[in-house]
Amino acid sequence: MKLIYFAWVRERVGKGEEELDLPPDVVTVGDLIAWLASRGEEYAYAFEKPMAVRAALDKVHAGRGAAIAGAKEVAFFPPMTGG
């Protein structure tokens, strides 16, 4: 699974993207955030306030309950501040 990070999520994780093999019990976006947060200090920091991080599956906004099966890329980022 390709994971992409933007803005301060990217800075905290320390990389813009990575490929990770996910354990089979990671089914939803919420599961993925919980699993990532357990992978080390930098991830714990990035996801310390889980609701402050938004997610997208294949470039479409996704809620915490969305199933990640079938997605090619999952992105995590702060609330948007464009415009």
Partner: protein
């Protein structure tokens, strides 16, 4: 029908708006919005705009499609820049053409609300004193503004 662009370069807002009405006589109203980089009382050197390539364009196109489904629009153009943008420079354009002014105003405002809250762009402040300011925080007012357009309000 909508034109959506995400680009590093500046744009000609007047030409983009004028193009929506050129050569046709069914357009009665063109509303355009241009968002500029402010200098934050002189402290800001520039904004650095990061975006999610592909998704930024897709979200802008989805917002335009929602506006077109909601009002009888005759043209929509949305342009958003990324990269380093200095105070006084243009950041974003939304222009909407329609027969009557009410829907052009409403659609332009909805597009800006959606762009602010849904399009994957993030601003970081670069300060005049050489420090990197923080990432600009999302404003609750923008979420409230976007919520005005939810289905329940129709």
């Amino acid at each position: 029908m909508a034109t959506v662009r995400v680009q590093r370069e500046d744009f000609d807002a007047g030409a983009e708006a004028a193009a929506l009405a050129r050569g046709r006589a069914d357009v009665g109203a063109v509303v355009s919005f241009v968002g500029f980089c402010r200098d934050d009382g002189g402290r800001l050197a520039a904004l650095e705009l990061e975006h999610y390539p592909g998704m930024a364009e897709a979200e802008m196109a989805r917002a335009a499609a929602e506006a077109e489904a909601r009002w009888p629009l005759l043209g929509v153009t949305a342009i958003h820049r990324f990269g380093r943008i200095a105070p006084g420079e243009q950041i974003v354009l939304v222009a909407v053409a329609s027969a009557h002014r009410g829907e052009a105003f409403a659609a332009a405002e909805m597009l800006m609300d959606f762009l602010k809250t849904r399009a994957p762009f993030w601003k970081r402040a670069l300060m005049r004193d050489g420090t990197v300011g923080g990432w600009v925080e999302a404003r609750e007012a923008d979420d409230a503004s976007a919520a005005r357009w939810s289905a329940a309000d129709r």
